[in-house]
């Protein structure tokens, strides 16, 4: 039987979860920018956003994170590791594309060496996704074989009611069930009609694109230079992307003590691959853009069997020069494979 969470009960839910020791996080907009942030009251949520400017990634893989602290003394060096905060969290109102982005990155952080910084956060976070009822010109989840109501990566999926006064609750995992048992008495039995999910037009034929990308002959196609000519080489697409996961280590400190940090890094920076000798395997911006597309739709699925793109469209939405995955793959769809 379906249960309903009414909007006016949400504030009670937030309070109840907070009492239970959970940090409640959700889409929040301030004057100029939006992100997933911690809230104290339900009124702080803004569910009217298509999606927050910044992806959910930063809650699991922060832009900068201390890894270890060192102190250097005479004849000895002491180090102590940082660990992610142990607090349990609930993210209420994630978008399905953001939630799937996390699921996409799980195998990457899990293969070979299991990255505790990622998985401890994954294990202590409940993700409550709200299906999208509206989309904009940049949304492209359907082109990635996902949907505005995908359940991938979510613990609970909520479908907005047609009357806009609540959500149908669809519990998907034990973790999600536990979190909603906490507030079981605030839920109602029964099911109102759900609002229709957003219509997201299919923007390109993924299979055709992947086939083109997999053809080694196309690696040095002039297409890459043409499509990336206006790329200015910033990292806003990669940093806002819910699945881009490249990082860098930086030591900050002096010869007595300091901290080694893990920072986001981006394949679109020229220095990303630069060798000591000055040789740069990806010396041009077009080679770097090609790497990004190839990595997402050819290399990553070759290794982990899933495309490294969840179709949120942030790369195109926020690009200073209106580039992005959509445009590139649309252009590829029209090329003969």
């Amino acid at each position: 039987m379906t249960r309903i969470l009414q909007s006016d009960k949400l504030d009670n839910c937030v309070a109840r979860w907070r009492e239970a020791g959970l940090t409640v996080i959700g889409p929040v907009k301030n004057e100029s920018s939006s992100s997933y942030a911690a809230v104290e009251k339900a009124a702080e949520f803004d569910f009217s956003l298509i999606m927050p400017d910044r992806s959910i990634k930063e809650l699991f893989f922060p832009q900068t994170e201390p890894m270890l602290h060192y102190t250097i003394k005479k004849q000895r060096i002491d180090t102590s590791d940082f660990t992610p905060p142990p607090e349990k969290r609930i993210i209420f109102g994630a978008r399905p594309c953001d939630a799937s982005g996390l699921a996409i990155d799980d195998p990457l952080f899990g293969w070979d060496y299991k990255d505790n910084f990622w998985f401890q956060r994954r294990d202590t976070t409940v993700i409550v996704t709200i299906a999208c009822t509206k989309a904009d010109d940049f949304c492209m989840c359907t082109s990635l074989k996902l949907a505005p109501d995908s359940t991938k990566g979510s613990d609970v999926l909520l479908r907005p009611l047609q009357n806009n006064k609540g959500w149908q609750v669809e519990e998907l995992t034990d973790r999600g069930r536990d979190a909603f048992n906490e507030i079981a008495d605030l839920l109602q039995d029964g099911s109102g009609p759900a609002a229709p999910t957003a219509v997201v037009a299919e923007k390109f034929n993924l299979d055709a694109c992947v086939a083109w990308l997999q053809n080694p002959e196309n690696f040095e196609s002039t297409f890459w230079r043409e499509i990336s000519m206006r790329c200015i080489g910033c990292a806003s697409c990669t940093f806002l992307c819910p699945t881009c996961h490249c990082f860098d280590f930086q030591d900050e400190g002096d010869t007595y003590s300091g901290i080694r940090r893990k920072n986001w890094d981006s394949c679109s920076f020229a220095l990303f691959t630069m060798h000591t000798s000055g040789h740069n395997p990806r010396a041009t911006q077009s080679a770097r853009w090609r790497q990004r597309i190839m990595h997402k739709f050819n290399y990553f699925p070759g290794k982990f069997n899933v495309n490294s793109c969840s179709g949120c469209g942030r790369c195109s939405r926020q690009c200073p020069v209106d580039m992005g995955i959509t445009e590139t793959l649309q252009a590829i769809s029209t090329l003969p494979s």
Partner: protein, 276 residues
Amino acid sequence: MTIQETYKARVKKLLASGTVKMVIGYKPGTTADRRRPHFIRTPEEADQLVLDSACITNLSGYLLSEGLLSDEKAVAIFLKPDGIRSINILAAEAQLNSEQILILGFDSNDNQVTALEGEKVEEFTTLIESIKEQAPEALKNPLLEQIEGMTPKERFAFWQGEFSRCIKCYACRQACPMCYCRRCIVDCNQPQWVNTSSHTLGNFEWNIVRAFHLSGRCVGCGNCDRACPVNIPLRLINAKMAQEVLGAFDHFSGMSHTQEPVLASFKKDDSETFIL
């Protein structure tokens, strides 16, 4: 004929006659209000050209794309007055030869696009002089004045709040026509002056350094401000510095292609009231 059509015809002519090897302009973007940079190399490609009030990006940074100007062939580029000023600065700082640049000037006011007379950068001097005269008024901004009215503590808190959002994607730097350094100061690590991590301290330092490097050079095109994915009001800090150099040294950036950079020149009687 609309201005767009006039320019389209002119672009086709320029390319067909071989006067220029490329025209940098605008074409339609993903949504109705977006325009994309468009690199036109054949008359046919000019069909996509758009020129309207949504064309706001300053395209001059593309002139420094590696190899573009090295063959000494001419390139035409659509520029608003701020873009023309950035050409002057780039020429003054020896980053390009302004002889190679053919300017297709335009300006837009109240959704109306007007053409600007002239092709070579020198021909716009009178225009830029009139902009300079209006600058003290034009640089005014209510939020800027509000910040100036704050106590240092409040100002610090204001910028701390803004900079805490920075993700160090360097879109501001990459979008800026004036940020052409082969190796930016944040990428230099011996020593590492600025923290590359994007904690608030690192962000604070980065944004101060960038604002300083743009002092007296920024033309106020707003590329950085629009590029910022987290909407930090970068334009304010640059406008403030522009006001400062205008007031202190009567320097208005991009006046001519021979203008001395403000921080690479001096007058013996520069103000020094603050020096003990």
